[in-house]
């Protein structure tokens, strides 16, 4: 019976589809509905895409003229801005930091969140588990500006609690915001602090969606809890882990600007080597340096990211078509 209904439905759909080759009143109405958002996309998403032209020009300001006039009448310089960027030596440090931190963040983030999600799903008390999730989710909702104040209360030289503890043990206080060697760890810790709770809850949502009969069958076969995790839970998490991985890999040339800029209190010179990324460089240069070179940095970033996300997706597609996101 149900099949019949479905067949009839399909037929109707087909008929409607074949009937509707011409433009319909419906199409006009839907276009009108989508128009405001289309305008937004044109202004705030596609117009900036043409802004990448700045990177290939020696941007000049002609007094009293509009920006577009300036852009059109500036001289084409090809890849000069990019060469200048490469020669400036900063590119190596920026790239190393941006990609290096991202790789560690992505890998550790996935490993820790997945482990925590599995652990939290095994806890007896569901009420306790809910309470832990709520507490761990909290940092996700804070801005980095606020978090930088949290961090300052721990790391301040003369008042911070860490130095108080050091002094209590008879050790010398540390100028945290001056000592580069501690910062890779601090930045890693803060990144995990802010993101792990959220991804744990997301992975947990996938775990609770797993068919319980799988586990029951495993028990009948005499599988231990560890074996069940290994051969049921982890494989079930694969799609979402891969999706999170592609999404994050696609942003590997972008850094979490707030983390690097706010938590370090504006990337002081002493921390430049360990905490400057492409984004902090661009932000600092935006209002001071010639616009062409800064723009070259962001164009490089956009293109590199576009390639990475397509590449990551292509690789995943090669391995298993179902897991690709595009």
């Amino acid at each position: 019976m149900q099949d019949k209904v479905k067949n009839v439905k399909d037929d109707v759909n087909k008929k409607v589809k074949t009937k509707r080759k011409k433009w319909h009143r419906d199409d006009t109405e839907l276009t009108l509905l989508a128009l405001p958002t289309l305008i937004w996309y044109l202004l705030f998403s596609f117009l900036p895409m043409f802004g990448v032209l700045i990177a290939f020009k020696r941007y000049q300001i002609f007094p009293g003229k509009s920006f577009l006039y300036n852009l059109i009448h500036s001289e084409w310089v090809g890849f000069d801005n990019f060469q200048y960027l490469i020669k400036s030596n900063s590119l190596f440090v920026l790239l190393r930091n941006t990609i290096g931190y991202n790789l560690v963040f992505i890998l550790l983030g996935i490993v820790i969140s997945v482990s925590l999600a599995i652990m939290i799903s095994l806890i007896y008390s569901k009420r306790k588990s809910k309470a832990y999730q709520t507490a761990m989710f909290f940092p996700h909702f804070l801005s980095w500006v606020v978090v930088s104040y949290f961090v300052f209360s721990f790391l301040s030289y003369d008042k911070g609690i860490l130095n108080s503890i050091l002094e209590a043990f008879g050790k010398e206080p540390i100028q945290w915001y001056m000592e580069a060697k501690y910062w890779p760890l601090i930045l890693l810790f803060m990144n995990l602090w802010k993101t792990v709770g959220y991804s744990t809850v997301v992975y947990l949502a996938s775990i609770t969606g797993i068919d319980p009969s799988l586990y029951e069958a495993a028990v009948v076969d005499g599988a231990s809890k560890w074996e069940q995790v290994k051969s049921i839970t982890l494989p079930s998490l694969k799609p979402i882990v891969i999706m999170m991985f592609i999404l994050n890999a696609g942003r590997i040339f972008y850094s979490d600007f707030g983390l690097f800029y706010q938590v370090t209190r504006g990337v002081p010179a002493s921390l430049y080597d360990v905490a400057s990324t492409i984004d902090t460089y661009v932000y600092n240069a935006l209002l001071t340096s010639p616009i062409g070179m800064t723009s070259a940095a962001t164009v490089f970033q956009s293109v590199a990211c576009c390639i990475t996300i397509l590449l990551a997706n292509w690789i995943v597609k090669k391995i298993d078509d179902d897991y690709a996101i595009i």
Binding site: L30, M49, L116, M136, W144, N163, V201, G266, A297
Partner: protein
């Protein structure tokens, strides 16, 4: 029945493991919450006790002077709070309308321009003009500098949110309802407003909450486009205080003596109090909305 129950118990982790796991999560939970508690304690410590002993979990002396200071500076704080609230409310409303409208249009299987709009949404997901180009467009072409729109417009739509909406409408709104409404002569705008919106509350809540937190927490747009103090939001206020301190610390010759510098800055307690004012509404509200953030991402994960 009894047997199943027994099996389930058998399938649980061992008691010591359970205790260990609980312990791990108690520690992690504390790490997540304590910094906020600490900042709150600092904000109610007296200046004298901060000056003498630094920041402490158990201050030697309590004081409400930081909050009294904020109260006396009502104009600045209330104005900043107002800007934050205005941006959050206006941005969320506009953003939800724009996002869901396009999401709905994309979910209509027979729409002629569906392919075109799919590309419009997809291309920004993998390529963008970059920060400099956006800045130049917003500041020089659209002239948004020092207007409230600079805080609202650039953040309104994200392709990710549009895809969530599209997937949601596609999977939960039955075609038959829409077809029958059309036969009754309803326009698409009517269908969207009177039929789709009332039955799609979860996705509106999800997108709305994503946007609410994004707007409330935004300081980046302010730091790029806003110099007018009338348009400073709470986050920007906190960010500006921070920047001024950095500036004076890095430029000791900026024309102020150390004493003037210390006097010109809000005290530590006051700065922490502003942070508390920002976080408190979030801390009270988010436990109720948490679930929408998870459903949002799980819907987004479904290939549409």
């Amino acid at each position: 029945m009894n047997k199943i129950k027994k099996k389930k118990e058998l399938n649980q982790i061992k008691k010591p493991t359970n205790i260990l796991f609980n312990l791990v999560f108690i520690i992690i939970s504390l790490i997540c919450i304590i910094p906020f508690v600490f900042v709150f304690i600092i904000s109610i410590s007296s200046e004298a006790s901060i000056a003498q002993n630094g920041y402490q979990f158990i201050p030697t002396e309590l004081s409400t002077s930081a909050y009294e200071f904020l109260w006396n500076e009502k104009e600045v704080i209330v104005n900043a709070f107002g800007i934050s609230a205005l941006v959050t409310i206006a941005g969320t409303l506009l953003g939800v309308i724009l996002t869901t409208a396009l999401g709905y249009v994309l979910s209509r299987p027979q729409y002629k321009l569906k392919g075109f709009f799919t590309w419009v949404v997809f291309i920004p997901m993998i390529f963008n003009g970059g920060m400099v180009a956006s800045y130049v467009v917003n500041a020089n072409i659209l002239n948004l500098k020092n207007t409230i729109w600079a805080l609202i417009l650039p953040l309104l739509v994200s392709s990710f949110n549009v895809v969530i909406c599209k997937t949601f409408f596609k999977t939960t709104v039955p075609d038959s309802i829409i077809e029958s409404a059309k036969i009754d002569g309803a326009s698409q705008l009517n269908i969207f407003g009177k039929i789709v919106i009332p039955i799609s509350k979860p996705v509106f809540a999800t997108i709305g909450l994503f946007l609410t937190f994004a707007f409330w927490n935004d300081w980046f747009q302010s730091s790029l486009y806003i110099t007018n103090s009338r348009l400073t939001s709470l986050q920007a206020l906190l960010n500006n205080i921070q920047k001024n301190i950095e500036y004076l610390a890095n430029n000791p010759s900026a024309g102020l003596s150390i004493q003037q510098y210390v006097n010109s800055m809000p005290t530590e307690g006051v700065r922490m109090a502003i942070a508390v004012v920002i976080v408190l509404p979030i801390a009270c509200a988010y436990p109720f909305f948490q679930k929408y953030f998870v459903t949002g991402l799980t819907i987004g994960a479904v290939k549409g």
